[in-house]
Symmetry: C2
């Protein structure tokens, strides 16, 4: 590391955009907290170290520490903790501002939408299906974003960003239709062409995203995609909670069941509730609002995949 890095770090800190971007972020998050309280959610504090974390549906470099003889994973997502926190009888709706660490491989070096660490606005509800989550998140995002658009006019003007008003409901497509129509790059292509956020349902990915029992091989999950080429906003799903179904899905992915023995035991005892949820990437959301080219443009401390950060 050379003093050049210090110059770069200082240069980034001294850009004049960073205040406007953070004022927008502050108003937006405040509105999101107010919305969640009004909708009877309780906020949990994040968990950063745990014997289990999200196996993800793509490979990352390991991020673990040891605490005595215990191997602890840094949180890649709070998926399992979200499910477990809905075990109490009187807790039905939870959310967490959850920092996630994902040491992405160099393949993602040029991604404009990935960071080594970021925060999710992470939501989970009990005894509801994916359409409830789609409706909730559409309402949460359009309400909060439209209010931010009004309240932060000066900041948006300073950034030269003309953010269109959001008008729900957002269109909903199924990935299998889009694959036929647009080929494998349907997501980025449609994101570029679209003028409204839109949902895409049905992706085969992690074991915990529920498979449709009526149409096996289709999945009760979804992504929300931003317009104007800003790409993926969030992923969500109904969850597998039945012991036999979880085992089946884990085996399909050749997962090591031992790692998840306590989680599996909770589900074997029928204590794992039926839930659905999603996680909104906060930096991605702020990037979209502010219309910045790269996700690292909205961060004071650079954590892009290829950054050799000194702080």
């Amino acid at each position: 590391m050379t003093t050049e890095s210090i110059d770069e770090t200082l240069e980034k800190l001294e850009t004049t955009e960073i205040y406007s971007i953070h004022r927008i972020q502050t108003f937006l998050l405040k509105e999101m907290h107010n919305f969640m309280y009004e909708h009877n959610f309780v906020q949990l504090m994040p968990i950063l170290i745990s014997p289990i974390t999200d196996p993800l549906n793509h490979q990352v470099r390991p991020a673990t520490i040891h605490h005595y003889d215990k191997k602890l994973h840094l949180t890649a997502s709070m998926i399992f903790h979200k499910q477990l926190s809905l075990i109490p009888n009187d807790i039905n709706n939870i959310y967490i501002v959850s920092p996630n660490i994902r040491l992405e491989l160099p393949e993602l070096r040029n991604s404009k939408n990935h960071l080594l660490e970021f925060s999710q606005f992470d939501i989970e509800i009990k005894d509801k299906d994916m359409w409830e989550i789609i409706s909730l998140v559409e309402n949460l995002l359009s309400t909060s974003i439209n209010r931010t658009r009004e309240a932060c006019k000066n900041e948006f003007r300073h950034l030269g960003r003309e953010l269109p008003e959001l008008k729900p409901p957002f269109p909903i497509y199924s990935s299998d239709e889009l694959l036929v129509k647009h080929g494998t790059t349907f997501e980025s292509e449609m994101s570029r062409k679209s003028t409204t956020p839109f949902f895409i349902t049905n992706f085969k990915r992690e074991f915990y995203d529920k498979e449709d029992q009526v149409n096996p091989g289709t999945y009760r999950n979804f992504d929300l995609i931003y317009p104007e080429g800003f790409g993926e906003a969030l992923s969500g799903a109904e969850r597998e909670y039945d012991y036999d179904r979880i085992i089946k899905r884990m085996n399909e992915l050749n997962m090591n069941l031992d790692t998840f023995n306590h989680y599996l035991e909770i589900s074997r005892r029928k204590k794992l509730p039926r839930t659905a949820g999603c996680g909104i990437g906060i930096q991605r959301l702020v990037r979209y609002l502010c219309g910045r080219e790269k996700i690292s443009d909205v961060c004071i401390f650079n954590r892009s995949i290829d950054s050799d950060f000194i702080f």
Copy 2:
């Protein structure tokens, strides 16, 4: 680990208090976010991995990961990032809900006020002194707590908690006076006897807490202590920012300067701003509000020092 741990985990999850506690936490944090926005603060997203973190003023077990050839510390506090984030000309007031990992030694096993990971409501302001922070935090806490007390009457009744209304200003003592009057256990003793939160100033601790230039050997820092025996709420201080002063203070503590070479270079270039700040332990605050015996009583996932947690 045995299935007994699963029973214990389930038992904790199924306590009926946890909903009321989290509803109080949710309202309180929402009010704190609203307060900070109204007072022109910007919220930063937390940083969890960095080449440097708070050396703390007590020993903890190391918590580091490797990312290629880079050794990264998990955040013990965001002290240095708070100072650096105030470098931009137009950013004067920042706050962060910052998760901290501190693998405490077994000595703290029986502490009712420590966790292996917790979240701080972390505040820093530029070109202001410690009295501004004391006044701000007194206003923030009394406003937010009194509003929560009104809005969450049912939840406090359910918990059997009669939380007194807070009436600022809170008393301010100096540690040297208290030491003479009450001996070394002044903090816990006064916390038990007090009916109002109170400040104690002047502790010799981390290098970054400013030494008083007029009265060397006294320090421009403070703690806030809760009444009713709930103990420490927060620590705050004016910061050292002058290169020569930082070097002097680090040398007094026999610190390894190489670890902090980039931070020191920023201060050598006179780029480190004059700041003051504090960090409010969120779980400690919720414990005090809810009147629970142990800090782990307000957490869905137990992270007390001696806990052999399975999730």
